[in-house]
Symmetry: D2
Subunit: 379 residues, 4 copies
């Protein structure tokens, strides 16, 4: 693995590294950790990367690694930069024969997303999008439960992602995370919608197997002076007559990282909270509700296969993240042209990336328009 971005002072780079290396199957061998060559070298040194594998730019890394012998060069790049530096390095890497792990939202615009999907198709590269929350065992269980039909046809989907960390104008204090996330040039058209709304939408679609077909959104810039939404609410229409609500806000003071999904079918429902991720509540119309727990013997194979510890030994965010990498790594090892690796190996791909960008653009448009419902094209 080679890393683009993720210098030692960045949060998400370290998370990617821990997640990638968790199962001892992926090794960080090179990196272009910063757009400043000096900073990149300093990060590489701290990470124990040989100086000749630390690069001053991603273009340099991709070009030089490409020339290394097969057993030595990196197998894929992990791109952990702000959104405006997603498309170009991903495209370069794919076109040079490298697979790609990419943070979400996939690109700066829907147009870039569609372009990138063409690159993936053409190069037959494998691209994983880190919609981390789909990596949790109990989300696999939830998806499996819906697919099994035991809840009946799905009628309602409530997806919420509430945080409080942008309740104040944090970006004006120089905080880096807040800085780029509230800047349309680096984040794209969506603020909270792009940063966390896409996670909620993706999770809803992943678990239910349904697709959002149209939405009616209210996006707000609650903290004065913000250029991007820090708060979003929307009504959703899904295919197969399901409907729902999606909330994504970063100004819910006192909330941490409260991603919650609730789904109701004809005969029962389910509820999952990311902050206590090892429990899936399953509710039934006419019998006691059940608490399904990570690591237990009664779970589906889907849930069991992404679990590392016995029941009662809680798994967390890093393990969920590691599951994205692990499934991606399996696809890379099994690499055969013509497959749809995301479906086969169960990780989010460029397809989910396009849906995320379409979701952002529809939400932003809806919030501006008087028209009630804005469709999201099928991708």
């Amino acid at each position: 693995m080679g890393m683009i971005g993720g210098g030692i002072d960045a949060f998400i780079g370290a998370v990617h590294r821990k997640a990638a290396s968790m199962d001892g199957e992926i090794e960080l061998v090179c990196g272009a950790f910063s757009s400043s060559p000096a900073k990149s070298q300093a990060s590489g040194e701290a990470l124990g990367i040989p100086p000749d594998r630390v690069y001053g730019s991603y273009t340099e890394m991709i070009q030089k690694e490409k020339k290394l012998p097969a057993g030595k060069r990196m197998d894929f790049v992990s791109i952990v930069t702000p959104n405006h530096v997603h498309f170009d390095p991903a495209k370069q890497a794919l076109e040079s024969g490298f697979h790609v792990v990419l943070d979400k939202p996939m690109t700066l615009t829907l147009e870039e997303a569609i372009d990138l999907s063409r690159v993936v198709k053409k190069t037959k590269g494998i691209l994983a999008l880190t919609h981390t929350y789909t990596g949790y065992p109990m989300i696999k269980e939830a998806r499996n439960l819906v697919a099994s039909g035991s809840l009946g046809a799905i009628r309602k989907v409530y997806a919420e992602y509430t945080q409080g960390w942008l309740s104040t104008p944090l970006e004006r204090t120089g905080q880096k995370q807040a800085g780029w996330r509230t800047d349309p040039k680096r984040s794209g058209a969506g603020g909270a919608t792009g940063d966390i709304g896409t996670h909620a939408a993706n999770l809803a679609e992943y678990v239910t197997g349904l697709r959002i077909t149209s939405l009616c959104a209210q996006l707000n810039k609650v903290v004065k002076g913000r250029k991007l939404d820090d708060d979003a609410s929307m009504l959703l229409a899904f295919d197969k007559q399901a409907t729902g609500v999606l909330v994504a806000t970063q100004v819910a003071a006192g909330e941490e990282n409260n991603l919650t999904l609730r789904v109701y079918g004809e005969r029962g429902g389910l509820e999952w909270h990311q902050e206590e991720p090892n429990t899936l509540v399953v509710k039934w119309l006419d019998r006691p509700r059940e608490y399904h727990r990570t690591g237990t013997g009664y779970l589906s194979t889907a849930a069991k296969s992404v679990t590392r510890t016995p029941s009662g030994h809680p798994e967390g965010y890093l393990e969920a993240f590691a599951n994205i990498y692990a499934n991606f790594a399996k696809a890379v090892r099994a690499n055969k042209p013509g497959k749809n690796p995301g479906k086969e190996f169960d990780f989010p791909t460029v397809e989910e990336g396009i849906r995320g960008m379409a979701f952002i653009e529809a939400a932003v448009l809806s919030s501006r328009e008087k028209q009630k419902w804005i469709p999201i094209p099928k991708s």
Copy 2:
């Protein structure tokens, strides 16, 4: 107290009786328990009411009680019939000098609600509307916390009321509760919106002190063949720039009576679940979240004054309901013309009733229209 409706086979009548009598201050002295005189007598007998105080119709009860001497006749009527039998008995009672306790939604239409408010004003009667959930101690605490300003200006309000009991066409089995609630002639224009959506909207306004100014609603008839919505979702705009979401559904299979309110201000938020009503979660931007509990010494006077047991001895739905009656009874005893008893004695009145009916009508209209936002008039 005289009761209109609430025969022995009705659910809500018994709840009203237990609630009214809880503190030993209100006594049931007469009733017109059914539109069938025979059933009314049977109910009266079961309840230990002397036969001469059991009436065959509410008109008869009001007329005859009026003629009894002051110390003997009922002081007020409690109307616990389906919505289409709210307006007329309430009007007759008020015009005959009796105060009124009325179940929600207040009337069949907004027009009736406005008419009834005129009757209240003219007769100087006292009318209490049983928005039960405002009677909980921790809701008083929540309202007090918001009013104190410690959360800062309110930004977001999420009110949800999810039930599952109408997930199947229960009304076709002859179940009485389901029967009238799904019948527009007896319920009015709103199904779930009227039955439970009004509770959620009222609770949101009560706790925050804000008013919903417009809404954008999606109402669904999820179970095939229903004539009224059994599911509603809506985006809300409040005054003072707050926004929010309201969900009211009766097809969330596996939910019981899950009324949940979450409110976020600049510096913190609060969360309350009716099913565990003795805890109010208070969240802060930069310090640990707190669990405020019914019956403790640190609560506000507002919360303490409606509590009957020490902390850790849970209070429930009947006690909350009793608080509406207790505050109404205080107003009746203190009866002085020209006051606004609801504000002074803290119980919902005709004013909340009008807002509820306006809410229903706006939601129904919004769901039909392509226009995004429908205003709710200030009452």
Copy 3:
């Protein structure tokens, strides 16, 4: 009902009155509310009792009520005084033909308890002991689950009752509740052991159907200067080879009224918390844990028959208390000599009272002795 004790400034008297009257079947008709005749009259007046039915002493009340005609005199007395005023009024009442509701622990000593049981037997009176917590619907459900055998033979029983209100020497501030509870002359040999330990022990035996056969206790006087234990822990042996632990403390600072019961059998277990009493957690060896909830359709008849509101409308402490009175009232109405009304009508009687006193005496003895295990005689 006539009340002994429970003047208007007493806590538990009001609880008894609300509980007794909840279902409209029991009416307070007379009282000896205080040992001071003036205070008794003042309380009677506040409660709307005619002055001629308010008495200056319980002896006076029992004697005078006895002479009233059958339809007019009280049917039973409710004794809500401190423990040292339990035995004598109960005995007098029973011997005068009145049934008795009595607060726990039943008497000051085991000897008194045994004497009282003889009086009950001789007079054929009905005595209910207010072990309130057995009145909760989910405790009925728990008992039913154990009895059904679905958990297998019971192996472990953990009963805990933790409170924090005596963490400081509150009794020195003049607080009445703390005053008599920490005074051996008024409370008897047990402090926390008697006040709340007996509840925990009773609940454990009620739910499991097992009997504590011996115990090994550590009783502490944590707050300096106390004459009675304010903290107790003990190992328990039950019949049928079950074992367990019982904790009863009033110095767990920050706890409210945390009575918790956990029971484990060969195939599963259950967990119940009094502070959230409408949920019974049922755990299984090899399938998901279940949350059984008050008011739902899938519960046992035992649980359903003591429920007043639909699921999701929480019931609380007063309703549990009312269930003791309601079952006692049924027994009184059905009064036939030679029955064991506690078993038939499901409420705690003099038998549970004796067990409670034996438990206290064994615990106090155990704490003093070097010998490890102290037996509790079968009653």
Copy 4:
């Protein structure tokens, strides 16, 4: 790091490897993964260890690694075998100049534990004992809270560790974990007491800073035919007049890995559940209870310094385990003679190992004796 035991079919070996490598600072370089050389080689190959660094026995590994040049040889061994193979490899490693990470309980007997402590002292080696649960951020927070004095003097300590996995005679099915844990030759004198009771005792002492001075235990062999206890309950006396209760059972059917600690002082208490480890409940005598959460800004430095993700991104068991390794690694890097690395770098050492073995022996003795209290010597 060189590993002793932990072949590819063993559970805890993989946990150690993931934990050790989580922060990219520790690398597995060699191993004697099994007592069967062939199995050891197979495991080594699967783990990507060069064949010449995979050894057929721990003695061979220690001897051969010792001869490798300083930069190449392993720095320490991680011993993840059953208890009867703890003492000898640890002693050999220390005497050959290697530091040691050792699973708990430390040895087979107290005598071995004391011997091992002498070896540590003599060799100036560093030994870490993996009492994993002390690695959780909220346990650091709890310890810090007690030490700060804000709860006042500690009065009560309740430590519980309930599991259900040994509810049936699993060891007779050939399950390896159950096999050695129920075998006195491989486990030592304690069953549940040694396997999980030591964790609970260690956690109680770690958080409170108190020492258990004596205990009164009841140990049971609930499943017929077992030679070691599968269930334990005990009363505890601590120094500074605190008392408590410890429960450790593996036959609580339906429990997973429920380690719970509750501590009460004069002014407040705290509660922590391992299964939801990112929340520490802090209870106060006279103000609302607080929920302290991993990753938040208001925590102590002690808690913050062992956290890898922002608040709301749950950390789990592997991360807690990694914290033991990380602190051990810091001590190894800072290695200076004459220090007490466990205290300085905050990880469990041979001292905790001795206490654990003394705890087991006292519990086993207590359970056999009629004498009520058995002292635990100060180590």
